[in-house]
């Protein structure tokens, strides 16, 4: 048994939420211990999620863009891909960021410990390390233990031919035929990378639409592009079985209204969502209340049902997004350090880093219909944008949903190049309570994609000059 430790605040999980919580608490004068089961800090986001996937998506996006240049009179030869170099490049980015976080921890005197933490009581943990169990006592604890890819029955797990978001990003090879199970964000992003690298990609989605929950008008331009890039897109379909064959390929059974088909794939990617890591924590040893679906119940202060135990990020619920975790992590750290912070945000933005990108924040039209929320819409098609035309990004669109009474921004949806970067202006508008006029009257530079945001507001106020809308004239 190793030497026991005590911490004023212990943080379980060093993902973007966990390290933000640890660093913020340290900055507020607390003695902090940061525990992660990985040797490297940064969690799924940095090591096996956001960052490596964006490294690969960047490559595939540029590859795709060069092919557009043919129409503009510039032709390259077919790309040659050296997977080893791609992997090294990606790993270098990750390790560079890893060491950045480690340095930040060191500078703040945040102690880090590698091992699997499990609760013993409301104030005690034990951490299983390579050299034995270390008992830890704490005044306060912030659980930031994250989530793991969910699997589905009937599919072999732990086999090299069955990829999860984690192993898919290792990009060991480019399979000839890849089946993506689950047409959500992760499946489509990784599917698009593999397709650009040369795989023949098929996607099977259980629900009737790709990116379920996303407004269909935003998904449409992506779907149009995917139809060209992917071999097959099957919605309202279910993979019931995947059997390994002798040559490591798989026979996959797909069921839908048209019947049952069997197809052979070299690899499959299971991306059907993620489940919280609550089960790894021996949380039963505490009085922390866990919801039926495995998420930990928290209040606006990020406190669990036990006042000295906080929880943040994926483990407290949807949306499972790094920026939500970071924000919650800071709130937990501030509250734990005696400051009256609270998770009081009007919206959390979502971004799909496919090509074209999709981003939304606040109210969506689907959401409005489901909850009977009335709204009015300002919408600007990028076909009328000079910058988008220059870039060959005409298929994009920017829309803003307004409160019919106050004309304040309730939600923003963007599809097209750089949507993820542009959504921040929508977020600022939502948090600041900006209305249509405020956006219209804010000068946006020309020519940019960003000006489609004010153009969408102009469409709503009737002050648009880039288009001719007779019905709105004179308003």
């Amino acid at each position: 048994m190793d030497e026991a430790k005590h911490a004023e605040i212990v943080v379980i999980g060093a993902g973007p939420g966990g390290y933000a919580a640890a660093f913020r608490a340290a900055d507020l004068g607390k003695q902090v211990l940061l525990i992660d089961r990985d040797p490297e800090l940064g969690g799924v986001c940095l090591n096996r999620g956001c960052i490596p996937s964006k490294a690969l998506l960047h490559i595939s996006k540029v590859m795709d863009e060069t092919s557009h240049l043919e129409k503009m009179g510039v032709t390259y030869g077919d790309p040659e891909i050296d997977l080893n170099v791609v992997q090294t490049h990606k790993n270098k980015i990750v390790s560079q960021l890893n060491s950045g976080i480690a340095q930040l921890a060191k500078a703040r005197k945040v102690e880090t410990l590698q091992g699997l933490a499990s609760f013993v009581s409301n104030t005690e943990l034990k951490v299983k390390t390579g050299t034995g169990d270390i008992p830890i006592t704490f005044n306060q604890c912030i659980i930031a233990a994250g989530s793991t890819s969910a699997m589905i029955p009937g599919i072999p797990s732990e086999h090299p031919s069955v990829l999860t978001s984690r192993t898919a990003l290792d990009l060991e090879d480019v399979p000839e035929r890849l089946l993506v199970i689950g047409g959500g964000v992760i499946g489509l992003e990784i599917g698009q990378v593999y397709a650009t690298f040369g795989s023949s990609v098929s996607v099977v989605e259980f629900l009737p639409n790709l990116l379920p929950g996303t407004d269909p008008d935003l998904v449409k331009p992506l779907q149009r592009k995917l139809k060209k890039q992917f071999e097959l897109i099957l919605v309202s379909s279910k993979v019931t079985k995947a059997e390994l064959r002798g040559d490591e390929t798989l026979t996959v059974t797909i069921k839908n209204d048209n019947g049952t088909t069997k197809e052979i794939f070299n690899k499959i990617l299971v991306s059907v969502g993620r489940k919280p890591n609550t089960g790894l924590l021996n949380i039963e040893a505490t009085d922390v209340k866990v919801k039926k679906d495995g998420f930990i119940d928290v209040d606006v202060y990020q406190r669990t049902s036990i006042k000295n135990i906080f929880a943040i990020g994926d483990i407290v619920g949807q949306p499972m997004l790094a920026h939500k975790a970071t924000h919650e992590g800071k709130v937990a750290a501030e509250v734990a350090s005696g400051h009256p912070a609270a998770f009081d945000v009007r919206a959390i933005p979502s971004v799909v880093y496919t090509d074209p990108e999709i981003a939304w924040a606040g109210l969506t039209e689907i959401n409005a219909e489901e909850n009977n929320i009335s709204y009015e819409k300002g919408e600007f098609s990028w076909s009328a944008s000079g910058k988008a035309t220059v870039m060959g990004a005409n298929q994009g669109k920017t829309k803003i949903l307004f409160d019919p009474e106050t004309k304040q921004v309730l939600g923003v949806g963007i599809v097209g190049y750089g949507a993820g970067d542009m959504i921040s202006e929508g977020m600022l508008a939502i948090e600041m309570g900006a209305d249509a006029e405020d956006i219209s009257l804010t000068v946006h530079p020309h020519p940019t994609l960003g000006e489609t945001f004010s153009a969408a507001a102009d469409m709503f106020t009737g002050t648009i000059t880039d288009l001719y809308i007779p019905s709105k004239k004179g308003k």
Binding site: N122, N139, D287, V300, S305, V335, G338, V345, Y375
Partner: protein
């Protein structure tokens, strides 16, 4: 989305009230106009409407509770709200917790910020200062609550609390000199006491005294009284005085105004709602008669009868105590030769009426003394708004109006 329903401002002078009935139960579906709570103050009994569509999630009060403005009444799950985010459960358990557990502001007390027009930084500052943003009026563009508004609110609170602190007065044992008995101050007495003190300290008061000849008016009133009796309407002098005031306030609008300190404005009101001081068994109350200029003597008489009966039975609705532009206090039925009433803020003037008497007046034309019925009255005013000459003109003109019977024809 769950909305915190808090006790709204109940009107002038009422800071709190007792719950007499909780009209809904957890799980009930409510419409905006449904009554969720009945309150009883010393002034009135009032029904609090739900104001939202939804299902009652949690009730935080029970009959007998003393409620203050801004206090949480219940939580209602709204069905058609335009809320965008899922609200996390706000439940906070009171488990025994180890060291370092911070004390946090009680969110229930602070109200939800969901529909508040304030930026994230202002919302954070409000949380730190434990200020309920729902009760703050934003002065920013389009009514946005700014950091300055929060600072202003704090300064105002500080000024108000500083003003209300009286030097400690020694407790005297009066029984040492003889027999005494204790009578608890009614709520209405306590509240009017505070308000009167505030008005007295805040407003530079001046009182102008005058006398009006109401000999002819008395004849007209008696005629109308006889006619009114047949209709079951009691016609007193008061409606005539109200009518005359409404005519005069139109002529001299600065008497029908309020000071807006924040913006250095005088707010002139183009409506004529007169507060009528009514003495009840538990104290003074001031119901408001609206649009006096548009009503006939009979209509005013009827309304006055109704208001005074309901005031005495504490059945006034809080809205009926709000929105007055000028007040009239008549002690004519009791006695006195003159008194100086205290202005009822935010109004700037109040008329006090004393007992009318027959006096000998010299009629120069006839060259003889004649008996005239004279009504002594006074005008107290806020000297920041009204100067002495205007006040003297006001009372003189008031007497003139009472001499012209054509003013009371309709």
């Amino acid at each position: 989305m769950v909305k915190d329903i808090i006790l709204p401002d109940l009107g002038e002078g009422i800071e709190g009230a007792e719950v007499s009935e909780v009209s809904v139960e957890t799980g009930d579906t409510v419409n905006p106009e449904d009554t969720i709570l009945v309150l009883e103050s010393d002034k009135a009994s009032m029904e609090i409407p739900a104001e939202v569509n939804g299902t009652v999630k949690e009730i935080s009060v029970e009959p007998g509770d003393e409620l203050k403005t801004g206090q949480l009444i219940m939580k209602i799950e709204i069905v058609d709200g335009s809320n965008k985010k899922e609200e996390p459960d706000k439940r906070i358990t009171e488990e025994n917790s180890p060291a370092d557990t911070p004390q946090l502001p009680i969110l229930e007390k602070m109200g939800s910020t969901d529909h508040v027009f304030a930026s994230p930084g202002v919302r954070r500052l409000a949380r730190e200062l434990e200020i309920n943003l729902q009760i703050i009026r934003g002065t920013g563009l389009k009514g946005r609550i700014t950091k300055n508004d929060l600072h202003g609110y704090i300064k105002l609170q500080m000024a108000m609390s500083a003003g209300s602190i009286l030097p400690p007065q020694p407790v005297i044992d009066f029984s040492q000199w003889g027999d005494v008995e204790l009578q608890k101050l009614t709520k209405i007495k306590r509240i009017t006491g505070e308000r009167l003190q505030q008005a007295w300290q805040l407003i530079p008061h001046v009182t102008q005294f005058d006398e009006a000849d109401i000999t002819d008016l008395d004849v007209l009133r008696k005629k109308m009284k006889t006619a009114g009796t047949k209709k079951g309407i009691k016609v007193t002098f008061l409606p005539f005085l109200m009518k005359a005031l409404s005519i005069l306030l139109k002529e001299m609008p600065e008497f029908n105004s309020s000071l807006d300190h924040a913006n250095q404005n005088l707010v002139i009101k183009n409506y004529y709602h007169l507060g009528i001081a009514v003495d009840t068994s538990s104290g003074l109350t001031v119901p408001v008669v609206r649009d006096v200029d548009k009503k006939s003597i009979y209509e005013l008489s009827e309304e006055l009868m109704d208001l005074s009966i309901r005031a005495r039975n504490k059945k006034l609705n809080p809205d009926e105590l709000k929105g007055g532009t000028f007040t009239i206090s008549s002690l004519g039925g009791i006695g006195g030769t003159g008194f100086s009433p205290i202005v009822n803020p935010p109004e700037v003037g109040i008329m006090g009426v004393s007992r009318s008497v027959w006096k000998n007046a010299y009629d120069k034309e006839a060259g003889e003394f004649v008996a005239r019925y004279k009504m002594p009255f006074s005008l107290s005013y806020d000297h920041r708004v009204i100067d002495g000459a205007a006040a003297a003109t006001f009372t003189a003109r008031f007497s003139e109006i009472l001499l012209d019977m054509s003013n009371f024809k309709n």
